[in-house]
């Protein structure tokens, strides 16, 4: 278990006309290896929640345990925030707006430096982080971040977090504001980070079609509470309730529903577009006596353009 949250409650601007209860009794356990997606509409409490996880918001009521660090509303003992933040890395929305140093190297080194690491260690980490986000170290280390393109800046900003080698990486709307190819680059980057850097990843996203492509567990926030917490494939058994909360469901499910409504028999467990295509192929084979191989369906149909290319190719335009 990486993170355990118990009975967490939080109120903004208590006792003023602007008082809002952002979190109402949140309980959640995040395990090592989770690829967790958090969904919920704006104001559902998800941002307030994640900011608790690395101590940016102080616990008002309830308890959080992040690895061996306990966070409560007690003044003492003071939690080791530096250690906490090295465990839990947080990439905020539009992280490129936080860049401030003159060079890419210095900016990425900011985090590791704050951790008090040796110069040698900092060097290694910066180099590793810059390469992990798909930028050529030698070519970019001395460039000014402000000269880079939007997508590159965002990757430098992400490098600044992963250079701290967090065990849990939280990303808030990592693809916001990017064009389609920029989105694909960031998504494949996140998958790559899961393998090579942070074993536990939490992503907040509004795009349900996007989040179902990688998450293996989905948590739904609604009105300050955890409304659902399910393995990715199970969540959409509650599709009726999700729609009532004003949340979107994956397009593949919508299509499957309509096909089923027209009397077409499809298997269960359709969530992603490749699930849907698999079931369609099976149904098609059955009806037409054909023998189309389901394994030929590409894993992520969404990015049929980028899925076949490797990391370098994805970034080659830069």
């Amino acid at each position: 278990m990486s993170i355990v949250v118990k009975n967490l409650q939080f109120t903004y601007s208590a006792n003023s006309p602007y008082e809002t209860r952002a979190l109402k009794d949140v309980n959640l356990t995040i395990n090592e290896g989770d690829f967790l997606g958090i969904v919920g509409h704006t104001g559902s409490g998800k941002s307030t929640f994640i900011q608790h996880l690395n101590g940016l918001i102080r616990v008002q009521e309830g308890e959080i345990e992040v690895f061996d660090i306990k966070l409560t509303n007690a003044k003492k003992p003071k939690p080791d925030l530096r250690k906490l933040r090295s465990h839990v890395g947080m990439v905020f929305q539009y992280p490129e707006y936080q860049l401030f140093e003159e060079t890419v190297y210095k900016d990425v080194a900011f985090g590791p430096k704050n951790l008090g690491l040796s110069q040698e260690e900092i060097n290694d980490r910066v180099k590793e982080a810059i390469e992990l986000v798909g930028l050529d170290y030698e070519k970019y280390k001395d460039r000014a971040p402000f000269e880079l393109s939007g997508g590159q800046k965002r990757r430098v900003a992400i490098a600044g977090i992963i250079a701290m080698k967090p065990k849990v990486l939280i990303l808030d709307e990592p693809t916001a504001g990017l064009d389609p190819s920029g989105k694909e680059q960031i998504l494949s980057l996140i998958k790559n980070l899961k393998e090579k850097c942070s074993p536990t990843i939490i992503v907040i996203s509004h795009d349900i079609d996007e989040i179902t492509r990688f998450a293996n567990r989905l948590v739904v926030f609604n009105d300050g509470k955890v409304a659902f917490d399910e393995p990715m494939k199970e969540l959409f058994k509650h599709q009726q309730e999700l729609v009532e909360m004003g949340l979107d469901i994956p397009l593949a499910i919508k299509i499957a529903n309509e096909l089923k409504a027209k009397g077409i028999k499809l298997g269960e467990n359709i969530v992603t577009m490749s699930d849907l295509l698999r079931e369609i192929v099976i149904a098609y084979n059955k009806k037409n006596g054909t023998n189309i191989d389901v394994s030929k369906i590409r894993k992520s149909v969404f990015n049929f353009d980028f899925s076949n290319s490797n990391q370098e190719e994805v970034f080659k335009d830069e």
Binding site: S13, P17, Q98, F100, F110, G111, K113, G160
Partner: protein
């Protein structure tokens, strides 16, 4: 915005809120001058009662107004210490090395403390009860005569309006940037004065970059909405004085006269001494 902050509009539907903003602006102006003129405890007491009754009428909770002092607490404390140390008149009550505290110093420091507190609370009452748009409109209306000597009053008013409008936005932005840098292990809370200033750079640079980006977009947005299209700009809201405004004017004058009388007549000296000794006793 995490917390309710100094200078933010506090919506209640009170008599004070409904006053013409020009009235409130003029009153605040007179009030500030007068607070500087007050010489006696009697005068402070009187002004405090007046302020309290305004706060009561405005339906803004007292603790919210009190909280506005918190923003300047450091300043208050600082002036208190400085005055205690460097104002040396009257009987000495305490002496140690270079520290030399006198009765006059104590008297003066307490008065200064009252003065600043009344100033801050009075000024924040203006912003609690008046929206920034009203404030801008009032300022523009009151400065209107200056347009005859080619002062760009309207532009100044727009600048002020936009500045006020962006305070919460930039505060929110600052909070976001601080959080992001804290997440990268930035230490903003401890260290010496210079260390802290240096630690602010990761906040200030992105904040400035963002402010310029916003300014850029805002400039386009102003153009797109035909700012400066014509000299014959119209106004949706016309400011209008009502009965309460006229009554407030009378009240303001009475208040001013009373305080001036108090300041320039020795009559209150006895009561004043009494109040001072009560304070010292406390």
């Amino acid at each position: 915005m995490n917390n309710f902050s100094f200078g933010q509009y506090y919506p209640t539907n009170s008599l004070v809120h409904r006053l013409d903003p020009r009235t409130k602006l003029i009153f605040t102006f007179v009030y500030m001058i007068i607070v500087f003129l007050i010489k006696s405890y009697m005068g402070y007491l009187f002004t405090a009662v007046l302020l309290a009754s305004i706060i009561f009428t405005s339906k803004v909770p007292f603790r919210v107004v009190i909280r506005s002092i918190r923003a300047v607490l450091f300043l208050l404390f600082f002036t208190l210490i400085i005055n205690l140390l460097f104002y040396n008149e009257g009987k000495t009550v305490f002496e140690w090395n270079f520290i030399h505290i006198t009765m006059g110093g104590i008297d003066y420091s307490i008065k200064m403390l009252f003065r600043l507190t009344l100033l801050v609370m009075g000024a924040s009452m203006l912003t609690f009860t008046t929206t920034s748009t009203e404030l801008t409109d009032a300022l523009e209306a009151l400065l209107k005569p200056l347009t005859y000597i080619k002062v760009p009053v309207h532009d100044l008013a727009i600048i002020m309006s936009i500045a006020l409008r962006f305070i919460p936005t930039l505060m929110e932005e600052t909070q976001k940037i601080m959080n992001a840098q804290k997440a990268r292990g930035a230490n903003l809370d401890t260290g010496s004065f210079f260390e802290r200033i240096k630690a602010m750079l990761p906040i200030l640079i992105p904040l400035f970059v963002s402010a310029f980006r916003r300014a850029d977009e805002l400039a386009d947005a102003l153009d797109a909405r035909c700012y400066n299209a014509t000299d014959k700009r119209t106004k949706m809201k016309k400011l209008k004085f009502g009965l309460t405004d006229y009554l407030s004017f009378v009240g303001t004058i009475v208040f001013a006269v009373l305080v001036c009388l108090d300041a320039y007549m020795a009559g209150g000296a006895y009561i004043d001494g009494l109040i001072f000794s009560v304070i010292m006793g406390a």
